[in-house]
Symmetry: C2
């Protein structure tokens, strides 16, 4: 678990469409992105539970065994972009001015992390909808969220007003609560911008940690 192959641009093994590698050995038959795109398409069309892994692999043209080499679970296809988003989030947090209150840094970082191309935006909306409607994917989602939670908590400890470890735990949970609340409002009010919603919601939930 948590051991997805996750062949990414970074290891230079494949292009997005799985052609032409200069590496030794058999080339990859496909890419995580391709599998994930097809899987999410089917999930949206037929529902998560009603879509079997066999459906996905048949549509992509690979074996089930190969699917589970790319993803450690059926629902993991929803989080292909998650590592990149989290990396953007962490990078933005690292760039914070040492005097900046932690709340501002968290908001700025999450806005940076959740900046997509228009095509990816629709994809993110579908994902958000699926997470809300399919309890079966919450298990994987929770481990994603725990990483965001840890990053937010650590940021609250470093930035003013330097939270204690105990308070930082609370900040972490409050932060993901803000993410989830903004997410839900984003799904139910599609006309509103996610960034605006995040700013609104985080201002409400992030505790005003008292300085020592």
């Amino acid at each position: 678990m948590g051991d997805t192959v996750c062949v990414d641009e970074a290891d230079g093994a494949t292009t997005g469409d799985g052609r032409a590698v200069d590496r030794a050995g058999r080339p990859l038959a496909t890419s995580p992105r391709v599998i994930a795109a097809m899987a999410q398409k089917l999930f949206v069309e037929k529902g998560f539970a009603a879509t079997s892994v066999a459906d996905v692999t048949a549509a992509v043209g690979i074996s089930q065994r190969t699917f589970f080499r790319y993803f450690s679970a059926k629902g993991d296809v929803l989080w292909v972009e998650s590592a990149a988003e989290l990396a953007r989030f962490r990078a933005a947090l690292s760039a914070a001015d040492p005097d900046e209150p932690y709340q501002q840094g968290l908001l700025r970082a999450v806005l940076a992390a959740f900046t997509w191309t228009p095509a990816d935006e629709q994809w993110a909306r579908d994902r958000a909808q699926l997470v809300l409607s399919e309890p079966a994917v919450q298990g994987q989602f929770s481990v994603i969220l725990s990483q965001w939670r840890a990053a937010a908590a650590e940021h609250a400890r470093r930035q003013p007003p330097a939270a204690t470890a105990e308070v930082a735990v609370v900040v972490g949970y409050a932060f993901v609560a803000g993410l989830l609340a903004a997410n839900e409002r984003w799904v139910s009010e599609p006309s509103r911008d996610l960034g605006t919603l995040l700013a609104e919601v985080l201002a409400m939930v992030l505790p005003a940690v008292s300085a020592p």
Copy 2:
């Protein structure tokens, strides 16, 4: 899903140990409590993933098929008490004074809901530990939490300062964030009282909804 038989004291079908019913038909071979107690014991001893449903049913002396008549999923045994806790929560919310700020009502209600006998307290601690350490149970947990979230959100809409529907969503998420944060601190600081932790944490995360 969500269709557990849930034979409870309320429908007068069985006693806790499965003896003596005045109802027609074959008596129940066991009770949800008995199954859940054995299952949770095994989960704590060997871990959730390493414990199969077959292990549980063999220990209780029932068939696997019967297990899944009592519980709709392996992890559901952790939430036998959940319906009762939620009922206490809702009852306490209903009893709120119309002029009482919503934050106070939520705190009072959650303290009422999470009041156990000493024996049940250890059981609740084990459950809390399992939820934190086993992502596999988060799926079921999330549907439990969504009920608490809805109840808290509705309370925020009714009590002063009467939140809008959009803000109530945020209150709901902030509330469960408080539950989770208090839960985590309860597990990592066993000497502290859960009630005190809840009071502390909820005071930090519950937004001060501005009156219109």
